[in-house]
Symmetry: C2
Subunit: 424 residues, 2 copies
């Protein structure tokens, strides 16, 4: 889920660093302990080539992968998917997981198989890539505004009858309807109703837009979208719950007004990993667009959960980057091969599994620099591996062509990042 734009980065980073001491000695330290193994090393291409071959390289230890390597613990991820599905069922709502996090057709298939009613994408390019890999029931949560994108969206709708897109403006609605007519389709849309000031139509204007969309000949109104990006990372469950419900109140009235006006409210979708257990309190809410819960990251670990107020451990950290020590020569420091091009954001800091006193700086393009604030758990040689919990999962996944699917510390599956780089 996106970083908050209504909460400035400054306060977010302050918040994270103030929780760092605790996090360091709990979530990170509690994650499975690093066990060095003899190092062998394969590149992404070599593993893919070997796995497509008859002998197969399934079974390579994750400690033998060439690095930086993006790994996902499949058992933990599948457990996260099952937990989210069970929670939604208990709350009486559905899940429509957001693929902007994983960009993977394989993971989307697991989510659908577990009971998700559809998959969200942020970009048209993501929708195209996933549909090309067999994912149906895509709901695009951003509006297509340029003529070229609108044409592409209608071509996609033509081949994928369950494709739904967002609309948040009258002129855009007219353009969508005209393009749909040109393509010979009636296109499914939902109204994006703003929470905050980033995207969507303000609640007070939403009903008029919904009525207009409903009258347009080549659009089919399916309901409304209401995503509160700013609420997802609010620290403390109670504060997060209060803010989420306050923020959505006006949109909940839009839902009621649309219903009263006889407009379709079949979909009332929103929420994310930070508010998955809050959104069902909104009357009429149908489904949650949860993304990060499959992987988790340092940013979400820090916000605190309903039960565990200190560490958000409703879901397990499944996504890691394995890195190699390149330099151990300077006291209290290690240099690794995972910098900004392997971890993107440097705030919050990446977590080093098994090293609660490590401060990991990914501010260099090519190098990570660890400064130990206390005693390391062991000594590190050049070539040793380290495993990192990423700062924020979405942009990190977008850097890699493949994720290594790990079971019991060995490669069980190579998952292509199907929509990597599909930012258009």
């Amino acid at each position: 889920m996106p970083l908050s734009t209504t909460m400035p980065n400054r306060s977010l980073s302050h918040h994270i660093s103030s929780r760092r001491a605790f996090l360091s000695t709990s979530a990170v330290a509690a994650a499975h302990v690093w066990i060095p193994r003899p190092v062998k090393g394969y590149s992404a291409e070599e593993v893919a080539a070997q796995m497509s071959g008859s002998n197969g390289a399934i079974g390579i230890s994750k400690w033998e992968l060439d690095t930086p390597a993006l790994c996902v613990d499949l058992d933990r991820m599948e457990q996260n998917i099952a937990r989210m599905q069970a929670a939604a069922k208990q709350f009486g709502i559905a899940t429509r997981p957001h693929a902007k996090t994983h960009k993977s057709a394989d993971i989307a298939k697991k989510q659908l198989a577990a009971g998700a009613i559809g998959i969200c994408t942020a970009k048209l390019g993501e929708a195209e890539a996933l549909i090309a890999h067999g994912i149906e029931r895509i709901c695009m949560t951003t509006c297509n505004v340029s003529p070229a994108k609108i044409r592409r969206a209608m071509q996609l709708r033509k081949t994928s009858p369950h494709f739904i897109q967002a609309v948040d403006e009258e002129q855009n609605a007219r353009a969508l309807s005209a393009a749909a007519r040109e393509a010979g389709v009636v296109a499914d849309v939902m109204i994006d109703v703003a929470v905050g000031t980033r995207s969507g139509i303000p609640a007070e204007s939403a009903l008029a837009l919904a009525k207009m969309v409903d009258r347009l000949p080549n659009l089919k109104l399916r309901g409304l979208l209401s995503y509160d990006g700013g609420a997802q990372h609010i620290a403390g469950f109670d504060a997060r719950k209060q803010r989420t419900l306050e923020n959505i109140a006006a949109n909940a009235r839009v839902f009621e007004d649309m219903k009263k006006a006889g407009l379709s409210t079949e979909i009332f979708s929103g929420g994310g990993t930070g508010t998955y257990n809050i959104q069902h309190l909104v009357p009429g809410f149908t489904d949650i667009q949860v993304g990060s819960y499959v992987f988790m990251d340092m940013q979400y670990l820090a916000i605190g959960g309903e039960k565990n107020q200190a560490v958000y451990d409703d879901f397990a950290s499944s996504l890691t980057v394995v890195a190699t020590v390149l330099n151990n020569r300077f006291p209290g420091r290690l240099t690794t091969d995972a910098g900004a091009k392997a971890l993107t954001l440097n705030m919050p800091r990446a977590g080093v599994i098994g090293e609660p006193t490590a401060d990991y700086n990914a501010g260099s393009d090519e190098f990570g620099v660890i400064t130990f604030k206390g005693e390391p758990s062991r000594s590190y040689k050049i070539g040793d591996r380290l495993e990192l919990i990423v700062p924020h999962c979405d942009p990190v996944v977008n850097l890699y062509d493949v994720m290594y699917g790990i079971r019991n510390d060995r490669v069980a599956q190579v998952l292509p990042v199907t929509a990597r780089g599909r930012s258009q």
Copy 2:
């Protein structure tokens, strides 16, 4: 060139923001003015497909590209390459440009054609990709430490006789020699002598390592490498010059000691865009590993030059991201389609060309949010384009599959990012 690791991010960002007011009214505002055009829009795939066809799409306006689109102004970039080459000639040294910045075989070819004596890479995967696209004389500035990488490096050396790699440790030197023998080659290496505490061998131990490397049967010593990542972004030319010369003093003695000992000092390489006009003051220095000068970015604009102390304008900003306005509904704000997955780092902020009072927040994964601190130069409609100077060029280029090469605001060439994602 990398972000400094010896200079904390906090002081860097403080520095940048304190110069923002000036920058906003000079470098960014002075860049070519945004002229809205009728929007058409093509995706990267569509442009590539059309350009490979007989009719060709060369001539598409950059304002009609689908967005976010990474664009490089070819005239400006070629001017930067010519300027750097002329400066180096005047200083009596050579250039060995770093491809970690552009990751592009096309741009490396332009640099070599202009007179560069070789090309640097940070990663073995980059070297492999560029060599596969016809770039010879690659110098890899990071050490290969895992057995798999060492084997790959020797296979590369076998096919590319001008491939040189860094070494900074005795055990690693032995492993390189053994692998070279196994591959049936004598591999060219240079000693990476540390400046700061990130990578390399401390100066006091470097001569012993050089002697040892010189004796190893399957390694050929070529000289030394001395890159001061921490000095590149020091604000103020005088401070930068003083720190660079202080920091390199011990390494300059290593150079002299190696020379006296009869060891090869054919290469004494280092420096970057921030110190290109300082390194030649070091006796024996042979070549500068300049990277960012081809593109420039907000980070480098802020450090100040020798002549212009306020804005580092020795080279022109050639790299931009074209983005589309998605929402204009909230007063004093605009939302665009270029967030963290289009611009990576959010600090320093991206610059909006022609809008000196715009504060661009790329902290959301998918959206950019502009807050105007003063009056915008014009009103913006949904679908309008904006052009952005990126925060830091290297990791941004690594997000995109292609750069659009622009001349006079039209696409003249599509440049594949040859080594995109080659972080292993």
